[in-house]
């Protein structure tokens, strides 16, 4: 019986923008005014709510091996590894690479009380974070939010110009440095906007808004395929 249980669940999942993959590739512009759009699907995201400076916060930072960011806009860690984005005075979003391991507890067929498992997450780091928080009296949250948002990556010389069509924040590098992430609106949609490199931005809309944001960006990118009007 046990050998019939599915442990590889990754082939059943579908990213919110899988359908638009080819259109996003086709909309990307090369040349002097280059700008490219792609989805980075299935990044692991963990919502963390904990009071900074508390023992629980330190325990979570030790498990993540990344300190919690201190203020608005700050990101700690590495976008290609484990990074933590500031979301509020006691709220953080941990972003890390996709990794799916179905925990043994989830494949057991034994009856179980609801809430008996420490986490239903299939990401090992998320489960570790849950365990680290559970050892503390302090109230806090570690929630697997991987399905909440998807990630778009906009890159190229004209990426900032594309974003400036719909984001009222000052995105100039003297204000919005590499390694800054803020929660704001792009057009009418709430997104997390994260500058991961000089010309590379991550845009993280909620999954149900992702298609709209992708279309919005592709529309905003259209003009850069033509030569500049002096």
């Amino acid at each position: 019986m046990a050998d019939q249980l599915l442990t590889d669940i990754t082939r059943f999942r579908r990213s919110p923008l899988a359908r638009l993959h080819d259109r996003m590739t086709a909309a990307s512009v090369t040349g002097a005014r280059d700008v490219a759009l792609r989805e980075i699907p299935f990044l692991n995201m963990v919502g963390i709510r904990v009071r900074p400076g508390s023992a629980a916060a330190e325990a979570l930072a030790a498990v993540a091996e990344v300190p919690l960011p201190a203020a608005h806009g700050a990101v700690t860690g590495d976008p290609d590894g484990v990074a933590v984005v500031w979301q509020g005075p006691d709220e953080f979003l941990l972003v890390s690479q996709d990794e799916t391991v179905v925990p043994l507890e989830l494949t057991e067929t034994a009856d179980r009380e609801p809430g008996a498992l420490i986490s239903l997450s299939t990401h090992p780091l998320t489960t570790q974070l849950c365990r680290a928080l559970a050892g503390h009296q302090e109230s806090g949250q570690v929630v697997d939010l991987s399905a909440n948002r998807t990630t778009l990556e906009l890159s190229g010389h004209c990426a900032r110009a594309v974003l400036e069509k719909g984001c009222h924040l000052d995105l100039h590098p003297r204000v919005f440095e590499v390694g800054t992430a803020v929660s704001t609106t792009l057009g009418p949609v709430q997104v997390i906007l994260w500058r991961t490199a000089e010309r590379t931005w991550r845009i993280m809309p909620r999954a149900s808004f992702a298609e709209y944001v992708a279309h919005w960006l592709m529309d905003a990118m259209t003009e850069f395929a033509s030569s500049e009007v002096p």
């Binding site: 979301q87 005075p89 803020v182 929660s183 609106t185």
Partner: protein, 104 residues
């Protein structure tokens, strides 16, 4: 569009915020003892001043935190931003600058 200074995130467009009505309206000590009239006054009656109004705002698309704002309802000028739970800051009493009648 108003530019509102979020205590956590700095100045952002008004459209990033959610309005929460007048601040410092205390919840009744014992709501079950109120008459219908008193309950309705707690729920629906607000000071609606022409001038400074303390009101609550939430930065819904940013840090998602509530805070208080002292805003002039005539000029829309934001005089102060302060945390939930803090008392309303006492500003120097501005002489009334608004002509009687206002806009009609």
């Amino acid at each position: 569009m108003l530019l509102i200074e979020c205590p956590n995130c700095g100045p952002r467009d008004e459209t990033e915020y959610h309005y929460g009505g007048e601040a410092h309206v205390p919840y009744p000590e014992d709501p079950s003892q109120l008459s219908d009239k008193e309950w309705a006054e707690y729920l629906f009656y607000r000071s609606n001043p022409k001038g400074l109004l303390a009101e609550r705002w939430a930065h819904t698309t940013g840090c998602r935190r509530w805070f208080n704002v002292l805003r002039d309802t005539v000029t829309y000028e934001i005089k102060a931003v302060y945390a939930i739970g803090e008392p309303r800051p006492a500003l120097q009493a501005d002489p009334p600058q608004h002509p009687r009648g206002g806009t009609r």
